[in-house]
């Protein structure tokens, strides 16, 4: 990238840190820092949920998977946007209404209340949440470094430090206020950028019909909705079979919706009425972005087939560069910073939220609830900031060497653990009055142990399963919740009524 491009990207970074500084003026107590004073407006809230999910995977990985597998991967573009709607509608509507009265700061507060377990379930859930967030964060930093080192031709480690310092700066300064405001900017950048880049790349590749014709010549199944149900798949890229897609649905739609850095956002909305239109707005905006990214990946595949572009060969994951390389080919150099900003916005918007999630779990769920119940507001906020700093250092250490293959497996496992551990307690807690504390703890632990064993067995090739390993962990966690809940004493009516538990999404009488 030339000097002009570098200046634009540096200005963008300065703008983000400026947002952090601006937001820091609003921070008066820990609630301001951790849940933005429960004061986020409709669009800030909606785009916060979307951009927390919209990670490095969304731009690079989505186009990359499209490049490698064709149309069968389009389901990802339906399931992931649907996860934003599921999170807001099924988890958010009720939890926000309860939190308005109880003052929850994290989802652990809800778990502790609903499952009348101020220590056991809070600790289990917080520890699993911190571990998942760190694993996921490593993946995000690798994405940031990949983009920065590619665009600026700087060493991977430099890029890692630059990316980490920028995100850490505005997150530590302004907490969720800064993240919310940055998400608004980042969300608009991603939407406008993808709307600009996608159609131009698709047109340059010869238009949609031509792209599809080229895909069909590579493998006719690339133009179908799924690959044939053959196990093991007939090619490495042909894994999106109907059975696998079922597990993909649960993994992406429910696993991501229950992810700590996603579901905690529902506590920050200013008004419960936002939950009326926000699911639709989040789904439509996100689906639009993702469809365009995916088709840009198809376009890149067609352009490579016709020798219009060449992907880098000295990297472990060439297909993930398809979006950047195709955009660089089509646009004159002057547009390079736009491409950089789109990708960086997507990666940073998840990174910041993950860092704050770790900060809030450490300061609020571990320190305030376990170690020092009388901790002052100032000390909780300060500890959140310290935890964000420490988690960044740990993450940088883990991401420092070039990403090993094990890491990609760990990141997918991170989403899998969310499905196997958090989805059942959340759904059962909100909608099933018979769900008990013991059932919730059992479902989390059985889910975690189940997915760990099955995943590892699959990784070392002891077993080969047709679905994603998390699906089996999820089924085990549902079974554990039902069996253990029915075997243990029913929760008190008082707790169930306070937490609005029952087979309804919204209590219209309230």
């Amino acid at each position: 990238m030339d000097t002009f491009g570098t200046i634009i990207v540096v200005l963008y970074f300065i703008g983000l840190v400026g947002i952090g500084a601006l937001a820091s003026r609003k921070i008066k107590n820990s609630t301001d820092f951790l849940v933005a004073g429960r004061n986020l407006g409709f669009w800030t809230f909606t785009l916060l949920v979307v951009s927390s999910i919209c990670s490095g995977m969304t731009i690079l990985g989505v186009a990359g998977l499209g490049y490698a597998t064709g149309w069968p991967s389009i389901w990802e573009q339906i399931f992931v946007p649907l996860c934003a709607a599921v999170c807001i509608l099924f988890f958010g509507t009720k939890m926000h209404a309860v939190a308005a009265k109880t003052g929850y700061v994290t989802v652990q507060d809800y778990f502790a209340h609903r499952f009348y377990s101020p220590r056991g379930i809070r600790a289990t859930s917080a520890v699993i949440g911190i571990l998942i967030s760190i694993i996921y964060l490593v993946g995000q930093y690798i994405s940031i470094s990949m983009v920065l080192s590619w665009l600026f031709d700087i060493p991977y480690q430099w890029a890692l430090v630059i990316g980490a310092v920028i995100v850490m700066a505005y997150t530590i300064l302004g907490g969720l206020y800064a993240i919310g405001m940055a998400s608004l900017v980042q969300g608009i950048m991603i939407l406008a950028g993808v709307l600009l880049v996608g159609p131009v790349v698709i047109a340059a590749a010869g238009g949609l019909e031509h792209i599809n014709t080229v895909l069909a010549t590579i493998d006719v199944n690339m133009t179908h909705l799924w690959y044939p149900q053959v196990h093991p798949p007939y090619a490495k890229y042909a894994f999106l079979t109907p059975e696998y897609l079922v597990s993909f649905f649960f993994l992406l739609t429910f696993g991501l919706a229950a992810a700590p850095h996603v579901v905690n956002n529902v506590l920050a909305a200013k008004d419960n009425k936002y939950f009326k239109w926000s699911p639709l707005a989040a789904f439509v905006i996100y689906a639009l972005i993702m469809y365009l990214c995916k088709i840009t990946g198809f376009a890149a595949r067609s352009m490579v087939s016709e020798n219009m572009i060449t992907l880098p060969t000295n990297v472990t994951n060439p297909s993930d560069y398809s979006f950047i390389v195709a955009a660089e080919h089509v646009f004159p150099d002057v547009f390079a910073p736009i491409v950089a900003i789109i990708v960086l916005s997507a990666v940073m918007s998840t990174t910041d939220r993950l860092m704050l999630t770790i900060g809030s779990y450490v300061s609020w769920d571990v320190y305030k609830q376990f170690l020092n119940k009388d901790a002052s507001e100032a000390s909780v906020t300060m500890l959140s900031r310290v935890a964000i700093g420490v988690s960044t250092v740990i993450t940088l250490y883990l991401a420092w060497s070039n990403p090993p293959e094990l890491l990609a497996w760990l990141i997918w496992m991170g989403i899998g653990v969310m499905l196997a551990c958090f989805v059942t307690p959340l759904f059962a807690g909100l909608y099933w009055r018979r769900a008990t504390r013991e059932g919730a703890i059992a479902s989390m632990i059985v889910g975690l142990v189940g997915i760990s064993i099955i995943s590892y067995a699959q990784y070392i090739k002891v077993i080969a399963l047709p679905m994603h390993p998390s699906m089996y962990g999820f089924i085990l966690s549902v079974a554990a919740m039902i069996i253990v809940s029915l075997m243990t004493k029913k929760p008190s009516e008082k707790v169930l009524n306070e937490t609005k538990t029952g087979m309804f999404i919204r209590d219209k009488k309230a």
Binding site: N212, T213, L225, L280, F283, V284
Partner: protein, 31 residues
């Protein structure tokens, strides 16, 4: 074939997101 895709693929990629959007619209209208 529609835009180079088998008809069922084309219908699938349009119908599913539209159906989800309609369900979410229904949720908002019944609020």
């Amino acid at each position: 074939m529609i835009v180079g895709l088998p008809t069922d693929t084309f219908v699938g990629i349009i119908v599913v997101p539209v159906a989800i959007s309609l369900l979410l619209l229904l949720w908002a209208l019944r609020w």
